[in-house]
């Protein structure tokens, strides 16, 4: 071991030890999926991201029970509702049965004269009362009279009945059977529950979903089926799928690469030694990410596969280039410069990821960048010192093909590669004109389209907000925001009447503004006035004037009493409603009005006037495309950095161009192939393309090195082939995944690696 080697090994051991120490004490792994949501640029976008993380609708679990006849389904749904209502993991259970909400009903009854929009002075004139009392005659003679009577004496104007639909939310478009919410075809009984845990608390969501499944298992016979949809469920499933996919990809990559190396070296030493730089890079890289970002995302860790696939290249270049009768130090001296250049270009390739606005992707970029640098340094300085002198026995396999013929053979097809690149350029140009980018945030979503279809159906059938349209008003204080929601609600009422939407919800429905409450209070007559008005109103009705004493008492109590405050709602589902519709966001109070069944956006916008209508889908799409433009810029920056590094390495403009040409050609061919497969490009493809440039330049660099002997050429082809295959194994492992994000990265790097290899070989200059 040389003196320099000794120092390098010491430093390496110290760095690993420090990383381990830090990791065991301070490494936090997070699974918050919103790390893979773009960082919002506008207030609307930040509201969108906040809503996705913890909005009202994102806490709802929509439950369907199917597979039996309607009455059996209704029984199951009711039993489930009873079990879940008793479970503290849920704050709210709705199966369409208003009797479930006794506390809420009592609260609404207590405050009915401040809550009811029908309250104005005309309601308490003799004529106004007369209309209400006519109705009351019918109620007390109906088959339900014994039940209706106490209500009629206390509430002859019918405010409670008017307000009750408030409890079930907006009932428009929902169908009921046997007292349970049902799909219109009667094949699916429906339940809506709201979790106590916010949507981003995936462990809490997982527990809530487990409770729903357990309740179903307890009450349902075996031929009933349970279907579920909720943002929390989707997040939980995505998390599980991404983690499983990434772990599988890492395992496949590690196994495949070790097998490749073992069959190449036919010796344990170099195979095992090759893993050292990659694993060092992974260990130290994770710590760098942890120090820079705080919590490390589980998905970032899962991408160890990518890093292994890239970092394994460096020991491969070193070992596979080791000629007979040459010490590893001599090999290192011969190819070291090229190796360092390759490390620098790959690191530049990760720059686009690092600079992207997705926190998750930025972490991944930093992991690859720091991991690759560490792996390169370990290969350059530590590996020669660690490798025993006789470890690289000359047992390695011959190149698969005869190098003296293979490269010239490939070079003869340079024109074909050139033609393919030209064709690819045309395909890409046409695709760009037609729109090559996919700006739909939903497509970045790891959900299958069947899951999304089920979600849409359940949302429609339960009347749950469709998470797309929100009217948004705000003010500096809470009271102002409530008042603003009342004004917006009045406009929306008109739009509902015009058929532009089915319904909406808003905070002031449950907690009217103080102004509105005072107006209603002042419309209430005092006890003496009300009694004499009642006497006039019942003159030619069968009622006795004193039959309505509870009514007079309640009106008087409300007239002279306090206003309804947020504190009065505590402990009821209404508190939760208000808190979710009235949120504090960036120092302001925002009132949200979620809209359902929107079918005429233009009329809706006209009705709303100046009130902003937030189209969450449009916002999300704008977010993605804005963010993609930003990524396009950082990709360009990464590319520029790559070119500069390359030029500094080779110090020749023609050589730089000759190296870049096949790699950029490979990028074109990769994009053309993706387009030909019918893929629309996302941000994840984009950043992967820069990785392709970084990796592809490695091939070009090694193919392009001046090579004196046939043996050297053979070794070069062997090392680049093995490195290329290692990258391909990593990419294929990711491409097999069912997670769109992983798949996009795997497909792009895999195709890119193959094209870069072929183009670099074919376009390399014969020496």
């Amino acid at each position: 071991m040389t003196r320099r080697g000794g120092v390098a090994v010491l430093l390496w051991v110290a760095a690993l030890a420090a990383s381990m120490a830090w990791a065991t004490r301070s490494l936090v792994v997070t699974t918050d999926l919103s790390a893979f949501l773009p960082q919002a640029a506008t207030p609307e976008q930040s509201l969108l991201v906040a809503q996705l993380r913890d909005g009202v609708a994102s806490r709802l679990i929509l439950i369907g029970v199917e597979g039996m006849d309607a009455s059996a389904l209704a029984t199951i749904a009711r039993s489930m509702a009873n079990e879940l209502a008793a479970d503290s993991k849920f704050v709210f259970v709705a199966d369409g049965d208003a009797t479930r909400l006794e506390r809420e009903r009592a609260l609404i009854f207590r405050w009915r004269y401040l809550l009811s929009p029908a309250i104005d002075a005309s309601r308490f004139t003799p004529d106004g009362l007369r209309v209400s009392l006519d109705e009351a005659v019918r109620l007390v003679t109906s088959p339900l009279a014994p039940l209706a009577k106490p209500l009629v004496t206390a509430d002859p104007t019918g405010e409670l009945l008017r307000l009750l639909p408030v409890l079930g939310g907006d009932a428009a478009g929902r169908s009921m059977r046997e007292g349970v919410l049902f799909s219109p075809d009667g094949k699916r009984a429906l339940l809506v529950v709201q979790t106590r845990a916010p949507a981003f608390d995936l462990d809490g969501q997982q527990a809530a979903i487990g409770a729903v499944r357990a309740a179903f298992a307890r009450v349902a016979p075996s031929d009933a089926r349970l279907v579920l949809s909720s943002p929390g469920l989707h997040a939980v499933e995505s998390r599980a799928r991404i983690q499983a996919d990434a772990q599988l990809a890492s395992a496949l990559t590690l196994g495949g690469v070790l097998l490749l190396l073992a069959s190449t070296y036919r010796s344990a030493w170099p195979t095992l030694l090759s893993a050292i730089p990659a694993l060092s890079g992974l260990a130290i890289g994770v710590v760098v990410v942890g120090v820079a970002f705080g919590p490390v995302h589980a998905i970032t860790l899962g991408f160890g596969a990518m890093l292994i696939g890239e970092a394994i290249d460096y020991p491969t270049y070193l070992f596979a280039n080791n000629a007979a009768h040459e010490s590893l130090d001599q090999t290192q001296a011969r190819i070291g410069r090229t190796l360092m250049l390759a490390v620098a270009t790959t690191a530049c390739g990760a720059l686009a990821m690092l600079l992207s606005g997705f926190r998750g992707l930025a972490q991944l970029g930093l992991l690859i960048l720091s991991g690759v640098v560490v792996a390169g340094l370990v290969t350059q300085y530590v590996l020669p010192a660690l490798t025993p002198a006789r470890a690289l026995a000359r047992k390695r396999s011959r190149p698969l093909v005869d190098v003296s013929r293979a490269l010239p053979f490939l070079r003869r097809f340079a024109w074909l590669v050139g033609g393919a690149i030209a064709l690819a350029a045309i395909v890409v140009a046409l695709a760009v004109r037609k729109g090559i980018w996919d700006d739909d945030l939903a497509n970045l979503n790891p959900l299958q389209s069947a899951t999304r279809q089920l979600d849409r159906e359940l949302r429609e059938q339960t009347g749950a907000p469709d998470l797309r349209y929100l009217a948004v008003v705000g003010d500096s204080d809470r009271e102002g925001a409530i008042a603003a929601s009342e004004r917006a609600a009045a406009a929306l009422e008109r739009a509902v009447a015009q058929g532009a939407l089915a319904g909406f919800d808003y905070a002031a429905r449950y907690l009217p503004s103080e102004t509105t409450q005072r107006q209603r209070q002042s419309a209430l007559p005092d006890a003496a006035t009300l009694e004499s008005t009642l006497a006039k109103a019942v003159a030619d009705l069968p009622f006795r004037a004193d039959a309505f004493a509870p009514f007079v008492t309640d009106v008087e109590r409300t007239r002279a009493g306090p206003l309804l405050t947020r504190g009065d709602l505590d402990g009821t589902a209404l508190a939760l409603k208000v808190d979710s519709l009235l949120v504090r966001h960036q120092g302001r109070w925002i009132a949200l009005l979620p809209l359902s069944g929107v079918n005429d956006v233009d009329t809706l916008r006209r009705a709303l006037g100046d009130t902003p209508l937030l189209d969450l889908k449009a916002q999300a799409d704008a977010l993605v495309s804005g963010y993609r433009n930003q990524s396009l810029r950082s990709t360009m920056l990464g590319l520029a950095c790559l070119v500069v590094v390359l030029y500094l390495g080779v110090r020749s403009i023609p050589v730089t161009l000759r190296m870049l040409a096949p790699v950029l050609g490979a990028v074109l061919m990769t994009v053309a192939a993706l387009v030909a497969f019918g893929a629309k490009l996302t941000i994840f493809h984009l950043v992967s393309l820069l990785l392709v440039v970084g990796v592809g330049l490695n091939y070009a660099l090694f193919f392009g090195r001046p090579q004196a002997t046939l043996e050297e050429r053979e070794l070069t082809l062997l090392s680049v082939s093995v490195a290329g295959l290692a990258t391909l194994i990593a990419a294929a492992s990711l491409a097999l995944s069912s997670t769109p994000v992983l798949q996009a990265i795997g497909m792009t790097t895999g195709l890119g690696a193959v094209f870069a290899f072929v183009a670099s070989a074919a376009l390399s200059k014969a020496s």
């Binding site: 209704a74 109906s142 088959p143 009279a145 009577k149 004496t153 039959a547």
Partner: protein, 188 residues
């Protein structure tokens, strides 16, 4: 010989007596054979809320298995249709129709079943909501229902009838209010 004659006579009498006593099952069997009916009713409501008893008249329609219509003709016009758990209130103007659902197991459902399950001859449903007692004979029976559900503010629902026809219904509420409905002959 004399002793045995007495014994035989006693046995015969006992058998005849048990055959004459009308059981709830027999009454229900009888009622369940009615496929549909349309009758004229007069309903008088006695209530502390009212200055004097209020009388309603109109038609009651029943169709197996679970459709019940109450057409009030005077002093106002209103039709209440109950089918399954769905209640529709109609007042001539279609757009003013109101629809509501009877929550399963609710007091309201029990109240409706007192009439509907009786018309249907559905003893299990009646017994789920009420303690059922029948007295009299086939030609002049009375049926008394006492609610099992404590939340139902009703003391008793009593029916009187002959054969498969109901002639009188009386609902007595907890506070002393009561409603008496008399039913005249079948309307054709």
């Amino acid at each position: 010989m004399k002793v045995s004659t007495v014994l035989v006579a006693a046995t015969l009498l006992a058998v005849a007596d048990s055959a004459l006593a009308f059981s709830p099952a027999e009454l229900m069997q009888l009622l369940s054979e009615v496929q549909s009916s349309r009758v004229q009713f007069t309903e008088t409501r006695h209530s502390a809320m009212l200055k004097k008893p209020l009388t309603l008249s109109g038609q009651l329609v029943y169709r197996r298995p679970d459709r019940l219509e109450k057409h009030v003709q005077a002093p106002f016009v209103e039709t209440i249709t109950i089918e399954g758990s769905r209640v529709t209130v109609t007042r001539g103007d279609k757009s003013a129709d109101r629809v509501m659902t009877l929550p399963a197991g609710s007091a309201a459902q029990g109240l409706i079943e007192s009439l509907r399950a009786t018309l249907a001859g559905d003893l299990p449903t009646l017994e789920r909501h009420f303690a059922v007692a029948v007295s009299g004979s086939r030609s002049a029976w009375s049926l008394s229902l006492s609610p099992r559900d404590g939340t139902l503010p009703v003391v008793r629902v009593a029916f009187e009838g002959t054969g498969d026809r109901i002639q009188k219904i009386e609902v007595v509420e907890s506070g002393g209010d009561r409603t008496v409905t008399t039913i005249s002959d079948e309307v054709r």
